[in-house]
């Protein structure tokens, strides 16, 4: 997916320029490009359709309002993702206590794999991702659901590439352990 986004990089910048000149339709075009990836990013972070919808809306409104601060030396997609990540992390930190509760409610391996039907399995998998610490969850989401490179993740998260790699490894291990514990991975 990341590769596909790079192709439109110059077009993104042209759309931003047109938007800054007052052409609102240009922002509509940017919205067409990024609505789905941003919604998916947010949805995987919060695992709630209503929240994902509200947050996606807030992210695009924020991007629109701050469009004149976008530096053309960088990729628009990275800039937008940065807004999306920060907005999502802020939101998640506000409701972190609820997630802790949810984590405690998830069955701890007493149910057999056969007992889950497929949709239940997906739900548990989503719960397992949601039960990750936010800094682990975000690297899993950016890597596995947004298909971003380590360098892109480093820029968006403002951390060194080395940290991205080690955090991703740790996050994968924790997730693996959860899946094993919850009977989702044999």
């Amino acid at each position: 997916m990341a590769g596909r986004l790079y192709i439109g990089e110059q077009e993104d910048k042209e759309l931003v320029r047109r938007c800054l000149q007052g052409e609102k339709e240009a922002f509509g075009a940017l919205l067409d490009r990024y609505e789905k990836p941003i919604y998916n990013l947010v949805f995987r972070m919060v695992n709630d359709q209503d929240d994902a919808e509200d947050l996606t809306q807030a992210i695009f409104v924020k991007a629109y309002e701050k469009l004149d601060t976008f530096d053309e030396r960088f990729k628009f997609f990275s800039w937008l993702y940065k807004i999306a990540v920060n907005t999502s992390l802020n939101f998640v930190s506000h409701r972190r206590h609820q997630e802790r509760l949810r984590d405690e409610l998830v069955p701890n391996g007493v149910q057999l794999e056969e007992e889950f039907d497929e949709s239940e399995r997906y739900r548990k998998l989503e719960d397992a991702i949601l039960a990750l610490r936010v800094d682990h969850r975000i690297v899993i989401v950016l890597r596995h659901f947004q298909n971003l490179s380590y360098d892109e993740m480093s820029k968006i998260l403002d951390i060194p590439t080395k940290t991205v790699k080690s955090r991703l490894f740790t996050a994968r291990q924790i997730l693996k352990n959860k899946l094993l514990k919850w009977g989702l991975q044999g």
């Binding site: 609102k24 949805f43 629109y64 997906y122 596995h144 659901f145 693996k176 991975q185």
Partner: protein, 264 residues
């Protein structure tokens, strides 16, 4: 192989970005270390399981909702841009020095005539009691009596709304903290009071819609402001509070505007 190198190669192998040489090096290491091999295979399986969760389609109405939000948040600015843009476009390429001089002279004479004939003679500050809006309102809460208050803490937003009264004025102090755009509507009885003014003390930009019997403050982030009402002939009714996000009611309450105080 160092632990750090092993971690890197396992990551890259799972992500499919190892070179052929790196893959070979990893496989060679894993063949000699069964524990590491098992760990790698389990991680590989986890990555495959994650693939089961595909992409999610955003709801069809979301795009329009976002565009509508932009219309509300930037309407004024955009209109100004449009007008300014059109004027500049009209002038661009047509301004030769001679005409520019004529235009500037005409503008100067016009401004001079306006200053001489159109401006009022007395520019002193007159009676400001009738002024409303942000410039006219800096309430000193110490001279007002507290009337009522509510506080709420929700996943979407948290905040506090307090009412005060003094003379013919009723003040609603609104403090909201939210991540997503939140609308705080304050309903009032038009036969008992009228909207008088609004003062934003802290926080990010938002909007205030003023209706016949309600004012609605829309904002995102943390913000604090005062909404002021003027009572009609000494009568005052309660204020009806509704906090919502994306059309969904998050919190509702009714606040007194006079009488015994329940403010802590």
């Amino acid at each position: 192989m160092t632990q750090q190198k092993l971690v890197e190669l396992i990551n890259k192998e799972i992500d499919g970005t190892n070179s052929r040489a790196e893959s070979a090096k990893l496989k060679s290491h894993l063949s000699r270390h069964p524990g590491a091999r098992q760990a790698y295979e389990e991680l590989q399986k986890t990555a495959l399981i994650l693939q089961r969760l595909g992409e999610v389609d955003p709801p069809p109405h979301l795009r329009q909702h976002i565009l509508n939000s932009l219309e509300k948040t930037q309407k004024g600015v955009t209109r100004e841009w449009d007008v300014l843009g059109k004027v500049l476009e009209a002038l661009r390429g047509r301004l030769v020095p001679r005409y520019a001089l004529v235009f500037a002279s005409g503008l100067f004479v016009g401004i001079l005539l306006f200053v001489i004939f159109a401006l009022p003679r007395d520019l002193g500050v007159g009676d400001t009691s009738g002024l409303t809006g942000t410039m006219a309102l800096v309430p000193e809460l110490s001279v007002f009596q507290p009337a009522d208050s509510v506080a709420f803490r929700l996943p979407e937003a948290s905040g506090m709304i307090k009412t005060y009264y003094g003379g013919e004025l009723v003040i609603a102090e609104v403090r909201i903290e939210s991540v997503t755009p939140v609308k705080t509507e304050i309903g009032f009885h038009p036969e008992a009071m009228t909207f008088s003014g609004f003062k934003r003390l802290q926080g990010v930009e938002g909007s205030l819609d003023i209706g016949q019997n309600a004012v609605a403050l829309t904002q995102s982030g943390s913000g604090r402001g005062f909404v002021t009402f003027l009572s009609r002939g000494g009568s005052q009714g309660p204020l009806e509070i509704r906090v919502s996000s994306g059309g969904r009611t998050l919190y509702q309450s009714v606040l007194r505007t006079r009488g015994s105080s329940s403010v802590e």
